[in-house]
């Protein structure tokens, strides 16, 4: 059986990056959950490395070779983990710009786990108010648990309602794995054209 493709898109800017750290934890969790049934190939897309390519795509309307490869990897993925730092009450501009240049059908029906990092837990609903609608627009299937990691989460136990960070990571990555294993293989690009007679007939008064 072919291995599944898990693609991780991370918009962290630091090196090392807390956002990347969270992304890696989520990816490990998903791979572990799928381990019994499928092998998983994980590819990480660091948007920091593509920042200029993304800006160039906005200006020229087409992706350069490196960005094209990253967009294609996301399009073909069986599952996607998308992680951004929260800037000014929402996803970072770099994160949004990447999903602005992706083909708007590339995520159709794709299981997506959204996660974010931030300095304070007070921004955690940005996941629900910004990321979830973004991926709903792209017709992705967003798993129920979105993972927010504030600075304090890395060193403290969670509250009674949601559990600590490790618990949330395990729950979210398990949900992603569940959707991935029940999903038919990612479809190839379909460029079928509607025959011209059909296009003409649709216009007859």
């Amino acid at each position: 059986m072919k291995p599944m493709n898990l693609v991780v898109v991370t918009a962290g800017l630091g090196k090392p990056s807390t956002t990347r750290l969270l992304a890696d934890r989520l990816a490990e969790g998903a791979v572990r959950s799928l381990a019994g049934e499928r092998t998983v190939e994980t590819q990480v897309v660091e948007l920091r490395d593509l920042a200029v390519d993304i800006a160039n795509n906005l200006v020229t309307g087409f992706p350069g070779a490196r960005l094209r490869d990253a967009l294609e990897a996301v399009r073909r993925a069986d599952g996607l983990i998308a992680v951004t730092p929260i800037f000014t009450a929402s996803y970072s501009g770099l994160f949004k710009s990447f999903f602005d240049v992706i083909d708007n059908s590339a995520l159709d029906g794709k299981p997506v786990l959204v996660a974010a990092t931030g300095g304070t837990a007070r921004h955690s609903l940005a996941l629900e108010h910004a990321l979830r609608p973004l991926f709903a627009y792209l017709r992705a299937i967003v798993v129920p648990t979105a993972v927010y990691a504030a600075s304090e989460d890395w060193g403290t136990a969670g509250d009674a309602a949601t559990g600590d960070l490790a618990t949330r990571i395990a729950r979210a990555s398990g949900e992603l794995a569940g959707l991935m294993s029940h999903r038919p293989a990612a479809a190839g690009r379909s460029d079928t054209v509607v025959p011209f007679e059909q296009q003409l007939a649709a216009l007859r008064p």
Binding site: T60, G61, G64, D191, V193, F196, Q199, L203, P205
Partner: protein
Amino acid sequence: MQFGIFTVGDVTMDPVTGRMPSEHERIKAMVAIALKAEEVGLDVFATGEHHNPPFVPSSPTTMLGHIAARTERLILSTATTLITTGDPVKIAEDFAMLQHLADGRVDLMLGRGNTGPVYPWFGKDIRQGIPLAIENYALLHRLWREDVVDWEGRFRTPLQSFTATPRPLDGVPPFVWHGSIRSPEIAEQAAYYGDGFFANNIFWPKEHFIQLVGLYRERFAHYGHGTPEQAVVGLGGQVFMRARSQDAVREFRPYFDNAPVYGHGPSLEEFTEQTPLTVGSPQEVIDKTLTFRDSFGDYQRQLFLMDHAGLPLKTVLEQLDILGAEVVPVLRREFAAGRPAAVPDGPTHEALLAAAARPVPASS
């Protein structure tokens, strides 16, 4: 194979001198560029159609009629004529008139236009872009081929016993290209009618256009107009040349960096690597253009964008001298070498007239 130039008709500040030409200067410059194209031995001049500043060519057949009176051989064309916002009745009449005035040296490239606000200025809805392109052309196609047309459609008032005048010269409609940057529907439309397909490939990587041209060729054969290799393909290109490559790069870089379309984005080096733009010696332009055949197969028309990014007229005319003297003669020779006999030449009125006169085998 035909070689020519196409112009957008933008009024753009020269970023080196800071000088902004007037609309009058730009319009006269476009005419001077067309006359130069004939002088240096090119085959085609094509103008854009735009209805918003900073562009000047809102009335292409007026300009082309003027150029027709001042040239002898040049084919006058468009890039593109807006089939969505233009009334097909008026397009049929304007281009038939131009055809008579220019003794047949006329064809046109249809496009949808991508500027949203233009549609309502002409009473149209951009959401209907593709259906407008399909219905309007279906009518235009009939108006040039049937003397009396009864017609009813979705986007304009019906026609009863209507005759578009004048009738096309010698009863042969102008050749039509369908221009597209991204729509497979337009490639399909061009294939259905057996018309030409112009892939305006100048701003994007070739992979995308290889798919689009491949689809057009395959569907052209599907509809019985010939083999895929006989489909009529046009391609764009944009170049800036000096005898020495480094001089071309040095002189063009400020124009590139501030160009309206791609400026302030990728570097000149990145953009030339990814798109047809060539900045260098005439030999580099020859080499790059010849690779188009490897990607797209033998084709019929190559149009270069030369008056781009605010280049002054004097420089554009120098560029045309180099194009006509050093580049196109070599390209003609190289593209002719190894070209299969079954691949048609670029379309002309004379060739279409001869094809129309050829007896069609009786079917019963």
